[in-house]
């Protein structure tokens, strides 16, 4: 099976964004995932979000590990460099790329196997380092490419296609990220593009590690009755705790944020994020409260969605590294090599 390129045809009436590009320009190769796969909807949401943001495709880098989710970086933004690395290790590759070139926008796509089992350590440390990237975790509770084993995000009691119930407790990436100090933590649903697109845009604008856990059902192995990661279950139990609007820098804000339950967070790039509490119970600016609330939802079998926590004051990896503002790849060699005179002088210290 080779990859399939989409025909590069754009309808003349297609809308163009600020860069003169159509949505089609943000697409990639043809998806080879199963028909109805949640991941394809996430891909579409990423296409929509990046197009709406006028993100220059060549300034983005698409990063992934291994698995169905990780294949999707080939399905959007064909004009961007992409890196499909090894299983569970996308965070380290992105860390290195970001260290070398801080000028790019890093979009990582991973899955629950890639992130919560083999890659749990790397995910945790990318959060700890606060790598400046969007990290989309396409979460379906199952290993799809190897045909249906439970993943670490499977809920207790959720059944496999054969009807066997999972007995081990799940790892919730949202609670994990909140515990580890992540500064942007969201959960959404592949079937809710209206919610997902603004969250992705806010995540791209966030300075630091932005994790978006997207429940993204596996139609082949985990979309049956008894699964807690199916379309039906997610629709029935999803509860939008925080409604998110993303307001880009160039758009004038016409509606006043008068409502008491709306908080506006100014992003580093000048854009802003408007957060409105869905049920009036969740404070997305208070880490401990956000944690307690999400944990409570989990206990009740509810799937808390929305931009659940946001702290725009955090320091990203380059702040900790004290690196020059110029990407290291653009620092001229003359500024890296101390030269022969310095070496000659240094040699006297080794005598």
């Amino acid at each position: 099976m080779t990859s399939i390129a989409k025909p590069p045809v754009a309808h003349p009436s297609a809308r163009r964004n600020g860069l003169g590009l159509t949505v089609r320009d943000y697409e990639g190769g043809m998806s080879t995932l199963c028909a109805g796969c949640g991941h394809d909807s996430v891909t579409a949401a990423i296409v929509q979000a990046t197009w709406e943001l006028d993100l220059p495709p060549h300034r983005a880098a698409k990063m992934s590990g291994i698995g169905c989710s990780s294949k999707t970086t080939a399905y959007f933004m064909k004009q961007s460099h992409g890196f499909n690395s090894v299983h569970g290790r996308m965070p380290s590759v992105t860390t290195g790329a970001s260290a070398a070139n801080r000028g790019l926008i890093y979009i990582g796509v991973s899955g629950d196997g890639d992130s919560l089992s083999i890659g749990l350590g790397q995910l945790s440390h990318a959060i700890r380092r606060n790598v400046n990237m969007l990290y989309v975790l396409e979460n379906n509770g199952v290993y799809g490419l190897t045909k249906g084993q439970f993943s670490a995000s499977a809920d207790i009691g959720s059944t496999s296609k054969q009807g066997v119930a999972n007995e081990q407790p799940p790892i919730d990436p949202v609670l994990l990220a909140l515990t580890l100090g992540a500064t942007f933590v969201a959960r959404s649903f592949s079937g809710d593009k209206q919610q997902l697109v603004p969250i992705l845009k806010a995540g791209l604008a966030h300075r630091g590690f932005a994790i978006v856990d997207v429940i993204s059902p596996c139609v082949s192995f985990n979309d049956h009755e008894g699964s807690t990661k199916s379309y039906a279950h997610t629709r029935a139990h999803g509860a939008e705790e925080v409604h998110t609007d993303f307001v880009p820098l160039r758009r004038e804000i016409t509606l006043p944020d008068a409502a008491a339950d709306v908080s506006v967070v100014q992003m580093h790039d000048g854009s802003s994020v408007r957060l409105r509490s869905g049920r009036g119970e969740h404070d997305p600016t208070d880490r401990a409260a956000a944690y307690a609330h999400v944990a409570g939802c989990n206990a009740r079998g509810e799937i808390a969605t929305g931009l659940l926590f946001l702290d725009e004051s955090g320091r990203e990896m380059h702040d900790h590294l004290h690196t020059v503002p110029t990407p290291l790849v653009d620092v001229p060699y003359a500024q890296l090599c101390p030269g022969s005179a310095a070496l000659d002088a240094l040699m006297t210290e080794f005598r």
Binding site: S3, H58, A61, I66, A74, T95, A100, N101, R351
Partner: protein, 599 residues
Amino acid sequence: MSGINDFAFKMGTVNGTGSASANGLLMQSIFRMGIPVTGKNVFPSNIQGLPTWYEIRVSAEGYTARPTEIDLVVALNPASYAKDIATVRPGGIVVHDSSFPLDPALSRDDVTFLGVPFGAMCNQAFTRDRDRTLLRNSVYAGTLGALLALDMAIPEQMLAERFGKKPAVLKANLTALKLGYDYAKAHFDCPLPFHLERMDATRDSILIDGNSAAALGALYAGATVGAWYPITPATGLMEAFKAFCERYRVDPDTGHRRYAILQAEDELAAAGIAIGAGWAGARAFTNTSGPGISLMQEFIGLAYYTDIPCVFFDVQRCGPATGMPTRTQQADLLSLAYASHGDTKHPILFPANPHECFDMSVQAFDLAERFQTPVFVALDLDIGMNDWMVPRLAWDDAFRPDRGKVLDADALAALPRFSRYRDVDGDGIAARTLPGSGAKGAYFVRGSGHDQHAAYTEDSAAYQEVMDRLARKFAHAAEAVPQPVIRLQPGADVGLVTLGGCDAAVREAADRLRDVGVVADVMRIRGFPFGAAVRDFLERHEKLFVIEQNRDAQLRSLLTIELGVPRDSMIPVLDYAGLPLSATAVVQGVTRHLTGVPA
């Protein structure tokens, strides 16, 4: 045979008691007297309380291999008395602490015991417990100074350099030094028959460890991203890189750093970070040892298969498993050469000393970018952590990094279509683009099967085309890696083949073999894959000895695999117990075979 400027001595102490600085002081003082000197630290994998040794060899002829015979031992660790006393050659000297009676069972008739009340003198002269322990080291340095005719102005000057800002510490150390010196002068016949005399043979040399030298190479090569996970004996490399970067790569006004050093969560991540940075266009590296190389295997294969440059420094230690982390070995050769699953092979550079660590570090970054592949620099603990006397490092300001085939915007624009893995030039190296360089140059790196356009494939021919190109590329590297150093002698009847840190011992052994009638040519291999020069040498010698520091004759295996040289035409001389190689081990290995005595 000991004599003036030709002897070896050894300190047996307890680790964590400060003896390292006194030992370094002695070695450096001898160096500053202009006399060629070598120091080997034989230390435990421990922070405090276990036996540790330091061996210093003085050689007017400039031999730097580990000494075979010890002329004098300073035995200061009761736990290792028996072993230490036993290592002295007949007719040699044991200096011990006479504050306590020496067990008569340890006595030997064929050596001279010189008792110095180190403990008692320190207790008398100093009041604080810590001083009494630490300063004992300066006392024995003073004693050795008298016994060996060290120019005492030198250690005094060095102490002044070291403790210039701490007058009290300086004064205490000078007092201690003098205590030991005076005691020896008053009680023994100073100097001993073997001792030091000023020379002028170190003027153009420095004392440096391989880790520091390799780090300097990375600095000068323009490496900007270093990722690592702490591991003995490789830790010093990144610590040195950090120290050099802080000195030369920080903007004095803003404090901004022109480098990024990332201490990763493990070696897997360290490899991933370095490879990610290499893909993004930085000169990136990681430093590790055998266990780390094991952990990095998967990533190494990814970088190989996707043509990503990256430099790996492997400071080898004794394996397998945790092995002996503070002992030296050359046992990662096979695991480096073919690191990762599937068909993979990688260039390796084998520095023999810290000077070559510097040069080869720079070369490794050039080779990695030129060949777009992981390149390994195989040090070992002895090279990495011990101070070696080597020529001063020098830099040519005309040097420009070889970034290899990287397409810029203009070159891209001129192309009808960019195909990441298309071998245009027939050398197996396809031009790359860096992320951010433009839509036309965008491609998708994938560890899964890909064709010459970097597109996913399960097509047999398309897959094989890429694999064959990688093999072609590797073959081309054979003449680009450092070529062997070959020393031919008229009338040679055997060929000695070696690599890396065995160099000094093998060269010395060749001299000694000549004295007993065995004339040997020597080839020191400096790079993998092997080029024509290596093949020629092997073909020109009927009797070959391959000298290396591992159990399984890994270099010999590589020569057989890669060059087709019959395995049994190469006689292995193996030394793999964890200590730096001595010339005697080589001489014995060779002569035993030639005389038919089983090894």
